[in-house]
Symmetry: C4
Subunit: 277 residues, 4 copies
């Protein structure tokens, strides 16, 4: 699998700029998109504050259009630059990228007030683009690996927490009853999770002596078992610090796989040339 | 101790299906019961939400009957399949399994409204069946072992937490008094546990400067000593990761002991053949 | 230093029973006192609940007298059994033991209602006797040792927490002001500790956008730095598990020193014979 | 680089007293300043409590003047004693030290009530001087080092927490809406941080079943991922305990660098003689 045509060459360059962050051009592209994402999120946030939106509605409208156009261009470039566009279009980020652009265009078509409210809600999905930031964080690989390695143990622990919450929530529903805010089992289970995780809103709190006694047991339990996930992850971190592999941000232009080892010449999944001279 | 009669053979097969999860039939049986348990719990939960129950009461009634009949069949199969039925009947799960079935039958006999309320409460005990899920979690053995190994240390820690809570709760009762919600020592101790475990409902909170000062000390104390159980369990996990033994889900058909080592041919407790060819 | 007179012999026996828990007689004495302490604490607690006290006041009075007399006898036995009684009398537990007995006797002398309220408060000090339970917990030595070894580091951490709380509390006082409940710096510092330790009562909570922003930073900070004491104690536990010495509950009859190594024949502090044949 | 003139000699002495804590004179100076800082902070705190300030306003005024004069003298001594005064003047503590003195002098010039309020606020900045306490804590070096070493990992973790908070906060804004207190995205994000860090004020809490379900997920998530920073810092502490270097509190009289190794004769940054015979 080699470079054949100049068309391929041009596409490879574009792929490098858009999907990788190892060249200066790729870095600049990423930084620009990053700034646009942050700007769009701040915009979405400010628009949701009614008294700010009332004042700067027209300014926000112009900024929305600028961001929408930039995101539209980025979306089409991403489709053009990749060999298998369907893989990108139907990926999580492909869908989010599409949903980030269309609401503003739709707002021209539908002009009723009701439609506008729904579109505003749709625009909020742009917030998910912030997850793209994760790509810029080199160290995050280690965190994610440690969490992945202890995935099974943590799932078991969380399942245990949920089982305990359902059982103790039902017990509290029987003891306290609806006159003290425990008016259904799901709500009691919600209260139990609030207590076990030591959040403790206080929107519902036990009022009978027996209820307060059992609540105390739940709290001490929650306070004690927080040690379990901590112990799991600590052990994982200790083990992980021994084995380390340097990875970079290259994406294969054929199958879009990332996490290639530094210096890798071919994609470890499909064998495509990674264009590292 | 060998297989002697065909009756024994048939019973062994049943035992394998019901009490073990290593054969395809055993797995299917477990999955069906698991789904029924989850369905019954969701049913119990939905019934407790008054506005949902008002709407679908008759549908819920039919589903209750289906679940009750399945659980009844399961209960009798479990008694038949085991050599020493009394061991199962008087075990924790034996009692829970029985209590899961009888309320619906009783509801036919007693038709007064008062009796129905009591029966509904009894039906809620079915939630405890969710604990059977624990069996499906392979990794849970490790968690339970780590917690068991540090049982003494954690008990000491929790006892210390309780002693500190009683002493500081009494102190706060003297300082704040009943006009600020600390109207008895048990309630003050409850407040102290709420604070020490960093739950913090806010249903009772100190209002005098001295009370807030001591509350601050309790909080910082609670924030600091959470490190103790975490340290205990972390140390236990680190040690445990060295020594591991592969266990399976087989139950002895004679004495119902589980946690046999993979490949074991005889029960390690009573010497009964485990029927592994 | 040997046994000389039969008087000395009799005193040694008494010392063994009262101050040590290694002989059957010593164990029985400790268990009786333990039960009396727990009973007296439950009594103090129940008396503080007004509607229970109104009902059983006369019963509680009789039980109070029984407990008081037992504690009085214990107090005098402790003084007689030890060589240097002043060491016991002016120790923390000596003072607590005295304060546990006198309020009931004083209640006979002073019969005004005002005096009774003050005496009831004094009686609550009996709660501190629960700390004697600590002696029965063998494993607590390890916990206490781990905490003592990391004492300096934890103090530094807590000092840092207090400094951060004072600085950020003052900042919040300036931002939020008294109209949102931050009506003095000490109260703002209290709020900051409530937030930093993740307790979060909600009796005071920020209402300005800037205040909520800074509160978010404090929360994330508190959530992050909880790792520090945990890391300290975990490291200490890991190191401690290597070095262990078996200690017993013997007290020297001369100087009342405890924590003697199993099999020790003489007190490691004063050289007194420990009477182990 | 040697001592040349008697002027230089006198200046070195002053530098030793003011900037170092290894000589008796230096220690005394530090202790006096420390007491003054604590006194001034307590004064600022008490003044903020309106009912105390109303009573002792004139006493507080006198004490303010004493503290102001001491701090003024200290400020000028610090400028005189150092070779490059600009380095001190424009450092964080240089600015704080200046801001600690001027408000009282300004209160003589401006006598309007409005100006006084602003000046009182300025005086509160004195609280930042408490950070100077950090210098006295020998062990803090280790804590700071452990936190610095895991800086990148903790930043990544906190960034992840912020991203998750923004995404889930927006989701909750859509679900709950302004009628349940989630009246803008920034406020929803604030609520999400309150929940994720297990603080849980309860000033805003979800009221729709779906909102409570997602809130439960956020809580369990927050309860689980607290393990991550703990694991990071624990690993760091374990590694750090191997490599240790004894440092002292000497400051170079030329460039004000501190953290010199015990017994060092020259500044490791600029080569200036540290005057250790």
């Amino acid at each position: 699998m080699n470079r054949k045509t100049s068309h391929r060459n041009w596409k490879n360059k574009l792929h490098e700029i858009i999907y990788e962050a190892d060249t200066p051009a790729g870095k600049s592209f990423d930084v620009i998109i990053l700034i646009m994402i942050l700007a769009s999120i701040i915009l979405v946030m400010l628009e949701s504050v009614s008294f700010i939106n009332d004042k700067y509605a027209s300014l926000f409208n112009i900024l929305e259009w600028i961001i929408t156009i930039v995101f539209t261009i980025e979306y089409f470039l991403r489709i053009i630059a990749i060999n298998k566009p369907r893989k990108y279009i139907f990926s999580f980020f492909g869908i989010i990228d599409l949903l980030s652009t269309i609401p503003k265009y739709l707002s021209v078509l539908f002009v009723g007030t009701h439609a506008l409210v729904a579109l505003r809600a749709l625009r909020l999905l742009r917030v998910f683009r912030i997850l793209k930031l994760a790509r810029f964080i080199g160290e995050s690989n280690n965190l994610v690996k440690a969490l992945k390695a202890s995935r099974v143990k943590i799932s078991v622990f969380l399942l245990a927490v949920i089982i305990v919450s359902i059982v103790l929530g039902t017990v509290m529903y029987l003891i306290e009853g609806s006159e003290h805010g425990f008016n259904s089992i799901p709500k009691s289970v919600y209260w139990c999770i609030v207590t076990l995780t030591t959040v403790g809103y206080g929107d519902i709190s036990p009022e009978t002596p027996l209820g307060q006694f059992i609540a105390s047991i739940i709290m001490v339990l929650g306070y004690g078992i927080i040690a379990v996930p901590t112990g799991i992850v600590s052990a994982e971190f200790a083990q992980q610090s021994k084995e380390k592999l340097p990875l970079n941000t290259q994406h294969c232009s054929n199958c879009n796989t990332d996490n290639h080892v530094d210096g890798a010449k071919f994609c470890f999944r499909c064998g495509e040339d990674l264009h590292n001279e």
